[in-house]
């Protein structure tokens, strides 16, 4: 088996649900459906679907940090906000010509990742774990929100970009593809849909390969028993930091896509509610698997929006109840439990399988 085929064989493995031709045929059918979907829908609905998609990157990042690495982080929205604001500041100052929006996207993600590396260094090399990791990351997120909230005055600007406090930063250009016949501006419509869908497939498959690689092996080993993992010669701090940074970069990608999608970002995207929601999506879906996280996030977002649209002011309360029910009834996630139930008749049970 050469290196390349070994690389692709990691698309399935012990760390991911779904294997064999059946799963991949299902995957292609869903993908084909997702590709065909704009043909049967209107621009507004497709744009709304993109909005759902933008959050999934952050959820997958949290799935990696928490579900696979065992470190509960409330910091995802901080990195989301940092990248979102960075994208806004860069593009408001330098415009959208010559494909600069995509350069800004990369720089913004880089800034979020750098911040995560700095914070993660102190967290993991300071051996902070468990509930304290959650407390510190939540505090950092809330401090950032508070800080951005007090930037309403005109003195708070970077170049041409006003930070604008709680009113939020707006009017940054959307992602723009340079094109010979005139730039293609990716407004929340069919074109942006395909770009984000492409990114989603890429990130999902890339993460599947990552978690089934030797790196992923060490990651779950740290979740299961950090002392043993270290006593096998692994510098677990480096693995935790690496995971934290990858997860933060994905949150950053979400932040940029969100900001570009609505041409708008506010401090409340880093607030208490915003910081708690990714935890709910990932927990309800099933944090220990990428696929259940993806499906769970989409489901919860759709339910949340349906509730909000139909005038219920209790959407957040319902979210809370969903989280509590998950913890009580299906601690590994509702979608995860459902997936196991569906898969049961088709798989031979291994002796001692959980």
């Amino acid at each position: 088996m050469n290196a390349l085929s070994r690389f692709f064989s990691r698309l399935e493995g012990p760390q991911t649900l779904g294997r064999g031709p059946g799963f991949w045929i299902g995957f292609l059918v869903v993908l084909a459906g997702a590709c065909a979907y704009p043909l049967f829908s209107d621009g507004y609905t497709v744009g709304n679907t993109v909005y759902f998609f933008t959050w999934i990157f952050m959820a997958l990042g949290l799935c990696l940090i928490w579900g696979y690495g065992g470190a509960l982080s409330f910091g995802q929205t901080a990195f989301f906000g940092i990248a979102g604001y960075s994208y806004g500041i860069l593009t408001i100052n330098f415009g959208a010509a010559y494909g600069f929006t995509f350069v800004a996207l990369l720089i913004a993600i880089g800034i979020a990742a750098l911040f995560a590396a700095l914070l993660g260094y102190f967290l993991f090399f300071g051996r902070i774990s468990g509930v304290f990791l959650g407390i510190v990351t939540l505090s950092v997120t809330l401090v950032l929100e508070r800080f951005m909230a007090q930037t309403a005055g005109p003195e708070w600007k970077i170049g041409a970009a006003r930070l604008n406090g709680f009113n939020g930063m707006s009017n940054m250009p959307p992602l723009t593809v340079p094109w010979p016949g005139g730039d293609i501006v990716l407004f929340p419509d069919v074109q942006l849909y395909y770009v984000v869908l492409g990114l989603l497939v890429l990130v999902y498959l890339g993460l599947r390969i990552l978690v089934n690689s030797p790196f992923g092996n060490v990651l779950v080993a740290i979740r299961e028993n950090p002392e043993r993992a270290e006593m096998l010669g692994y510098d677990i701090r480096k693995y935790q930091l690496g995971t934290f940074v990858i997860g933060a970069a994905l949150a950053g990608l979400s932040g940029v896509l969100y900001t570009s999608w609505g041409q708008y970002i506010t401090p409340s995207s880093m607030g208490m509610t915003a910081a708690a929601l990714p935890i709910v999506w990932v927990a309800v879906g099933g944090r220990s698997d990428l696929t259940t996280t993806l499906v769970g996030t989409l489901t919860v977002l759709a339910v949340f929006q349906a509730l909000t649209i139909h005038g219920s002011q209790y959407a957040l309360v319902v979210m809370g109840i969903m989280l509590v029910l998950t913890v009580l009834l299906a601690p590994r996630g509702l979608i995860y439990a459902l997936a196991r139930l569906i898969a049961r008749p088709f798989t031979k049970r291994q002796p001692g399988d959980a």
């Binding site: 012990p14 092996n217 779950v220 299961e224 043993r228 001692g352």
Partner: protein, 248 residues
């Protein structure tokens, strides 16, 4: 050159002097057992050697290199490996994956599967390879962890009560396993209560008492030592009483 040497090793927790000026030497190729009554400081000494605790003073040499300030994973990479008292395995993962995690950086990817199969056979776990490690019997868990420790091909294997909770048959089988590993060139340091096991495997025995090296020698010499018998019966010798009085 000794495989492992501790020189004037001290560890204090507040006012408690848990490791008191311990000089311990392990020659390459020997099986060395560390015994002593509860509270003698065996576990602390073990953790000092592993780097989980840092000594208050003194030095630890491994193959002649001073490793006193190194982190645990750095010591492991230099050729140490450990089996904990409570089986330190990855319970929610399969037996095979447990071994894969231990071995993945020690073998080329193409040969890894075969090496895991070989180790599974050595551990009598071939039939259980797809089971979750948490569902194994206690003895099997102990063996799985010994397997993970051994798979790193260490120069020095540290065993913390390897036979705790095992039946006499399992204890004997574990002893034979240790002897086989030693015959392949592995130096072994074991903390152990089970005297049958110590007799089965040990070339040399060190008795710890109140944090200090109390006696050292072959198993026969130790068994014949009346002072050792006395401390195990909970009596302190006249010498001990005087020592404690001096410290009080």
């Amino acid at each position: 050159m000794p495989m492992l040497q501790t020189i004037g090793l001290n560890k204090r927790f507040g006012g408690l002097h848990v490791t008191n000026n311990v000089d311990l030497t392990l020659e390459a190729g020997e099986v060395h057992c560390l015994i002593g009554p509860n509270g003698a400081g065996k576990s602390t000494l073990f953790r000092l050697i592993l780097g989980e605790h840092l000594p208050s003073s003194g030095a630890i040499l491994f193959g002649g290199e001073d490793i006193t300030g190194l982190k645990p994973f750095q010591r492991i990479r230099r050729g140490m490996s450990v089996k904990f008292q409570v089986p330190g395995i990855f319970k929610a993962l399969s037996v095979r994956q447990n071994l894969e995690i231990a071995m993945q950086h020690h073998y080329p990817p193409a040969a890894l599967g075969e090496e895991i199969d070989r180790l599974l056979a050595f551990l009598n776990l071939t039939a259980d390879s797809t089971r979750l490690a948490g569902n194994l019997s206690h003895g099997q868990k102990q063996w799985l962890e010994i397997g993970m420790a051994v798979s790193l091909k260490p120069r020095l294997l540290l065993l913390d009560e390897p036979t705790a909770g095992m039946s006499p048959e399992e204890t004997f089988a574990t002893g034979e396993m240790v002897k086989r590993l030693n015959a392949e060139g592995m130096t072994v340091l074991a903390v152990e209560h089970d005297m049958a096991f110590v007799r089965q495997v040990a070339h040399k025995v060190t008795v710890l008492h109140l944090g200090r090296v109390f006696a050292q020698g072959s198993i026969d010499e130790i068994v014949a030592n009346e002072d050792v018998a006395a401390i195990y019966l909970g009596q302190t010798t006249a010498h001990e009483t005087a020592h404690e009085a001096a410290h009080a």
